[in-house]
Structures are given as C-alpha cells and as structure tokens.
C-alpha cells in the first residue's frame, strides 16, 4: 500500500471492510442450534409474513407444530442447517426466511456491500477533487489546527467571559 496515493488507500480500505463484512455474515450459520435460532430461519406459512419464531398466532397451524418438531430434532442431535435443509426439502425455497447463497439470490447478499463500496469510491473520488481544488486555491489557514479544546467552543467561552467582565 506504500506506493499508493492516500485516496486510493482509503478506497481500498473501505472496499476491504465492506467485502470483509460478508465473511462473518456467511459464517454465522454455524452457531449452535436452538429452537429460537432455527425457527428464525424459517418463514411461517400461515400468511402472517413473519418467521416461525415470530408468528404471533397462538393457534397457528404451521408455526406451533413446526416449533415442536424443531425442538424434537434438536433433542435428536440435528444441527441448525440440517433442520433448515429438511424444511427446505419439504416446502421449497419459500419456507426460508433469508435468500440462499445460490444463483440470482447471491445478488441479495452482495448488493448492499457493493453499494457501500461504490459509495466509498464516489466519496473518495469527490474528496480527492475537492482536495486538489483546495490545494490549487492556496495554503490552508493556520487557525485550523486544533488544540485540545475545539476552536468554536473556545470562541464561545471567550465571548462569555467578555460579556461577564
């Protein structure tokens, strides 16, 4: 990174942070299974639009028995992804509460981070243009470098002292 300009370094850093954030997102699927955790991964089919964990219908014909089934499967030693795969096989993709990481659905996961990376590129590009314009316009004013207390606060304090005296 030593040979790169500051603008490029900032952009590369932002992109790495944005794309690096994907890793824990995908890795999170390996956590220990719990009824609440697994049922968050499934969408209730009663029409409420919520997950099996969040469905608030006390007598729901889908979420109530599915939660009981999940409890039994966890007791039998099945992992979260295994239980989710079981329901996907049984009901199809519509039962999942998050897009898969296959085909068109990858777009769902990538777009937010790509958007942030593109945004970062735009910010860095714009800032570098402003910087070169500032440099051409002349050297910076010396009062800009702050001490421990913000210059604005100091100005206010000074005027307050003047008002009092």
């Amino acid at each position: 990174m030593r040979g790169l300009s500051e603008d490029t370094r900032v952009f590369v850093l932002c992109t790495m942070l944005a794309l690096g954030a994907l890793w824990p997102g995908f890795a999170a699927a390996t956590e220990k299974a719990s009824v609440a955790g697994v049922s968050q991964g499934l969408t209730c089919q009663c029409g409420c639009g919520l997950t099996v964990a969040n469905c608030n219908h006390p007598t729901c014909s889908f979420s109530v028995p599915v939660r009981e089934e999940i409890e039994k499967m966890i007791a039998q030693g099945k992992s979260g992804p295994e239980i989710i795969a079981f329901y996907r096989h049984k009901y199809g993709e519509k039962v999942l509460s998050a897009p898969t990481t296959e085909g068109f659905n990858i777009l769902a996961w990538l777009m937010p981070f790509l958007a942030v990376a593109l945004g970062a590129a735009f910010v860095v590009y714009t800032a570098s243009r402003w910087r070169s314009r500032s440099t051409q316009a002349g050297s910076p004013r010396p009062e800009a470098l702050p001490g421990p207390v913000d210059a604005d606060l100091l100005r206010r304090l000074e005027s307050e002292v003047r008002e009092r005296s």
Partner: protein, 671 residues
C-alpha cells in the same frame, strides 16, 4: 356526522387547490394579498380537517354503525380509549389522521414563515398544499372514511385485538408525526430548488422541523418495538417486517441529513447531497405508505387488499421524477467552493457516516423489495427476513458506531497525528480493555466483543469531550465542576445534546446486542404446584384464574418467581379470547430489571385447566434498549431547547435572504 365529515373533506380539498394557485400567483406577481389569502386557505383547510377528524371520533364514540368505518373497526363493547385510537386503526381513518397532521404542520409552518423567507415560503406552501391535495383526493374520491353501510349492522366487527393495547395509543401518532413533519423541510428544499434560492436559509429555517421529524420517528420506532415486545409474545421487539423497515429507512436518512447539514452550515458544502437526502427521506415516507397499503409485500401491518397501491406508486414516481429533475436542473448553481484537506478531518468522518447510514438504508430497502424482484425475475416467491437483515446490517452498524466515536473528537479541516493520539489514546485503550475484559469473562463471539470495544471507545470519546469542555469552563470562567457541566450543556445545547443522543444510541446498541446474542429460552409443560428453572430463577406454577367480561374471556396464570429460595415476584401471563372477533391472543408477563428481563408467555392450557405450557425468555440487558431510547429523547429535547445565540444566527441568515428582494408581503404587524 357523515354529511359533516364528507363536506369538510370536500371543502378542505378545494381550499388546498386554491392555496396552490394563490401561492403561485402571489409569488410570481408579487401580490401580498394573494399570499395572505393562500395562507388563510391553509388554516381553513386545517380547520376543515379538524372537523372531519372530530366527526369520525364522534361516530366511533357513539358506535354509529351506519358509518362503514365505525362498523369495521369498533364495537359497542370496545373500551372508550380504543374507540379513540380506532381513528388510526383502519385504512381510511389512518389516512384522515395523516392528512389532519399534515394540515396542522402546514398551518404552523405557514404561521412561522408569514414574514420570513418571502421568496421561498409561497412555493414551499404550494408544495405542502400539493401533498395535501393528493391525500385529500384519496379521502374524497378513493378511500372515503364517511361511507355509509346499509343495512346498518346492530354490532361492529371490532378493532383488531393486537391493536387493543396502550402502546397503540402512542406508536402510530408518533410515527405519523415523524413521517408527516418531514414534509415541511422537503417542501422548503423543493421551494429552494424551484426558486433557485439555494443558500442555506431553507436549512436553517427548517432544521427544527427536521429534528422534530427525527424525534418522532425515533419515538415511533421505539414505541413500535415496545408494542411488539409486549404484545406479540415471541420475546423480541424487532422482526424486520417490511413495515418496520419502512419506518426505519426514513429515520436512517433523516439521521444522515441532520449530520450532513452541519457540513453545509459550517463549510457551505454538500448542497446537492442535502437536498437529495431530504427528498429521499420524504420519498421513503411515501414508499412506506405504499408498502403498508398496497399489499405488494406481505406484512403483519398491512391493510389488506386496499387497492391504494397504484395511487401511492404514481404519487411516489411523480415526487421522485419531479424532484430529481429539479435537482438536475439546478445542479450547476449548487456547485460550492468545497474545501477538503485531509481524511483525518471531521468532514471526512461525516462523509463516511453519511455513506454508512445511507448504505444501511439501502440494505434495508434492498432486502424489503428483493422478494418482489425475485418473483419478477425467477418466478419464485422468497422471503427476506431477520437472518438477512441482521447479517448485512450488523457489520455496517459496527462501522457506524466507530464513526460516531471518531467524528466528534476529530477537528474540522485536518488533524495532526499528535492531536489524534492525544484525543483518541484513552478511548482506544478503554475499548481494548473492555473487549479483553469481556473475553476474559467468557464472551467469545467476535461481533459481541467488537460491539463492546467499539461502544466503550465511543463512550470514551464522549467523556473526553465533556471533560475538555468542563476543564475549559473551569479555567476560563472559574466555575465549580458540576456547574461547569450544566452550563456547558446549557450554553452549547445543540452540540452536547447531540452527545447525549450518541450516549443513548450506544446504550441502546449494547442492549440490542446483548438481548440478541444471550437470550435464554425455556419451554415447559407443568401442572399446578410444579416448579421449573430458567437461568437463576425458579418459577412455580400455582394455577389459573378464569375471568369473563362482555368484551373478552381470559385465563390468567399465577406464577411465583423465586431466586435463591426467596420469592421475589408474582407474574400473571394470560390467554385471552376476544368474543367479537372470535380471536385468541396472549398477554405476556414481564419482570424487567437492568440486568435481565424475565418474559413469560402462557403458550397453552388444557381444556380442563390442568396442565399449562409456558414459554419463558430470559433476555439480558434489554432494559438498556429502552433506557437508550429515553436518553435519545432527552438529548433531542436538549438540542431543540431554544437558544438565544442560535436564534440570532438564524435571524441574521434569514435577514440576509430577506433583504434581497421582498415580494409584496404585509409589513410586520400588518396581519
């Protein structure tokens, strides 16, 4: 009542159209009499809408089932407080409520600006009246709240049981107030674009409106989360439902706007960006309404099959296209002499803060509409729920928290590495120490450790900032520490109120992280007298007490809660049955402490009252989510507190604008 309501809405519609014309004619031809008349028309529109809302309330309170709306959303046995809240419990009533709020805010803005901003105010009022025309058009011709039903039913269908909760008295009004009040800064932004008066006077004169909107969006989201927590019975407070997302997105964009306007005020930069953000915030409020009322995306909040979708979509497209067109048209005039020296500056921190806030808003938007895209492209209907939003937004939220710590301590223009080390040394050490301590205490999730470290870092930077201010006051004014602290906040309320809001955000963030990662869930079927353990609590089921009222039947369980063998509380979760709707529901019991909430749901009950099944959640630190919300509210009140110095600055800025070319306004005192 129905005739009075219908007539009021029709007159309000005509007045709104008249106000647009009178404002435009008055502004173009410098006719003060037209402007004055347009203003009076807006106030009269507000009076008409007040009358219409009152008419519907009278109908609800008198159980006048000849009105279709009253028959659909109330009953004779519905308690009076819920008859009042039923105004926003259904499609037509909530639209009426929305429009009524819009007319109130428009009237206040018209009054505030009757002698200010003479160049842009008429156009802003025309935009506000234009938005009112759309909503009044809907109320008069598409979804009418005063339609009659024949034959008149003897009894109403009743309000949805989920809405029969005290949080529903405050959640929708707060959210609507937040949504609707964002129209005022949007209208002034649009007016600035129309007139070409593109200095920051429109921002200064609507900043309080933007903060007001943000304040109510914060309250609305918090109240909604609390409602979900207490009513829905799944132990959580946020489900990333499309309508929740629709309320969250304008909050994010408004937050970005409130930060970026500081750069414009200070450095005269980001004019296009600020105008774009306020336009986006308003468009997102309409998008939220479109989602709620169109049925395009299934949601627990949806008003089913309302058929309003195409109207809202058309309005949304019109707003976006017209506003973007104006922005492009004025782009050459919006170029500013931007100064940027270093990425180690507050400007840079604010730019990246805006990037992340808008990035999160985009992620939420993308996740919300992706099911529609998937169905259009692949023909497969999928759901995008909490796992997606948590994984995508989790890292972005961490980045945002980090920037929240960096922004306040870094100087405008540039900071030297020495100052950077001096400012951030202690907060960074605090962050590392807290992370290590948490690891030593057995926390091994990378996200939780990072959250704890970043939160400690942010709180550290805020503490440094308060300490510096207090030390400076003590040194220069000679005040004792406590008084210096109070005066520091009082005399710099905008800045230190902002820090209080930041503390609230950190506290709420920690509450969210802890309650999401460490929630304990126990499900148990027990008989009266049985005891079971949840964490360090022992719960003993003592039995169930049935009750019966004309409105609902309930079975209330009695649970003795002990800790270390000592009784500490009695809890009473219940199963309810609403007779009118023939609908069962649950009432959870919550014992809240700063360390953890014990949350008990009566999930099942034998017909003969023997065995009961309980779902119990032990949720750590969720208390701090609400405490953080409260701190955000307190901070916002501090920010909005009238400040003589700020008023003088606004008056000065507006005075400069007003001296350019006044157009036929009545002289002060002339009204």
């Amino acid at each position: 009542m129905a005739d009075l309501g219908r007539l009021s809405l029709l007159i309000a519609f005509v007045l709104a159209i008249y106000s647009i014309g009178a404002n435009l004619i008055g502004a173009r031809h410098g006719r003060g009499d037209f402007l004055s008349s347009a203003r009076h028309a807006l106030w009269a529109m507000c009076a008409m809408l007040t009358l219409a809302a009152a008419a519907l309330w009278v109908g609800l309170l008198n159980s006048d089932f000849s009105l279709e709306y009253v028959a659909a959303y109330s009953s004779t046995t519905l308690p009076i407080p819920y008859k009042i809240t039923a105004l926003w419990g259904g499609q037509q009533g909530s639209l009426l409520f929305w429009t009524w709020l819009l007319s109130i805010f428009t009237s206040v803005a018209a009054f505030q600006n009757r002698r200010r901003n003479p160049e842009i105010t008429p156009y802003a009022m025309a935009v506000l009246a234009g938005v009112a025309v759309f909503f009044l058009g809907m109320l008069n011709f598409v979804t009418r709240p005063f339609d009659l039903i024949s034959p008149v039913p003897a009894e109403g269908t009743d309000l949805n049981p989920l809405l029969q909760n005290y949080w529903m008295a405050v959640h929708p009004p707060s959210l609507y107030a937040g949504y609707v009040s964002s129209t005022v800064p949007f209208a002034f932004g649009a007016a600035a674009l129309i007139t070409g008066r593109l200095d920051d006077s429109w921002i200064r004169s609507t900043r309080r409106w933007a903060i007001f909107s943000w304040f109510f969006l914060t309250l609305g989201n918090m109240f909604g989360a609390r409602w979900a927590y207490e009513v829905l019975g799944w132990g959580g407070y946020w489900a990333w439902d499309p309508v929740e997302n629709a309320a969250f997105m304008p909050w994010l964009v408004m937050t970005a706007y409130l930060h970026s306007v500081m750069i414009q005020e200070r450095k005269d930069m980001l004019k296009v960006w600020n105008l774009a953000l306020i336009g986006l915030a308003f468009a997102l409020t309409i998008f939220g309404t479109f989602i709620t009322r169109s049925g395009v995306i299934s949601s627990v909040h949806s008003f089913t099959q309302s058929g309003l979708g195409p109207y809202f979509l058309s309005f949304l497209i019109f707003v976006v296209v017209a506003y973007t067109g104006l922005l492009i048209f004025r782009a050459p005039q919006l170029r500013s002499p931007a100064e940027f020296e270093s990425y180690l500056s507050r400007e840079a921190a604010f730019l990246f803060n805006n990037l992340v806030l808008v990035g999160i808003a985009f992620a939420v938007f993308w996740g919300t509409i992706f099911p529609v895209l998937s169905e259009a492209v692949r023909g497969v209907k999928i759901t995008v729920g909490p796992p997606f939003f948590n994984r995508v937004n989790g890292p972005l939220a961490l980045a945002l928290m980090f920037l929240m710590g960096v922004g306040p301590l870094i100087a405008w223009r540039r900071t030297t590495p020495e100052n950077l080390a001096r400012s951030f040394g202690a907060p960074v050490l605090a962050g590392i120490a807290c992370g290590l301590a948490a690891y030593g205490m057995g926390v091994h999730s990378w996200y939780v450790l990072a959250s704890i470290s970043v939160s400690a870092f942010v709180l550290g930077t805020i503490a440094v900032e308060f300490r510096r201010g207090v030390v400076a006051r003590r040194h220069m004014v000679g005040e004792p520490p406590a008084r210096a602290l109070v005066n520091l906040v009082a005399k710099n309320n905008r800045r230190y109120g902002g820090y209080i809001i930041h503390i609230g955000v950190v506290v709420a963030f920690l509450g969210i992280v802890a309650s999401s990662f460490f929630k304990l869930e126990v499900k148990k079927a027990v008989r009266p007298g049985d005891t079971f353990n949840v964490g360090s609590y022992q719960l003993r089921y003592l039995g169930v007490v049935p009750t019966d009222t004309p409105h609902l039947e309930s079975a209330v369980a009695n649970i003795q809660v002990s800790r270390d063998g000592r009784e500490i509380a009695r809890m009473a979760p219940a199963k309810l049955f609403y007779k009118r709707e023939q609908q069962p529901a649950t009432r959870v019991a919550i014992r809240s402490t700063p360390l953890a909430d014990l949350y008990v749901v009566l999930a099942g009950l034998d017909e003969n009252g023997g065995q009961a099944t309980f779902e119990v959640f032990l949720t750590p630190l969720v208390f701090w989510l609400w405490a953080g919300g409260l701190l955000m509210v307190v901070g916002t009140v501090v920010v909005m507190w009238p400040n003589v110095r700020e008023r003088a600055a606004i008056a000065e800025a507006l005075g400069k604008a007003a001296t350019r070319e006044p157009i036929g306004e009545p002289a002060p005192g002339g009204e």
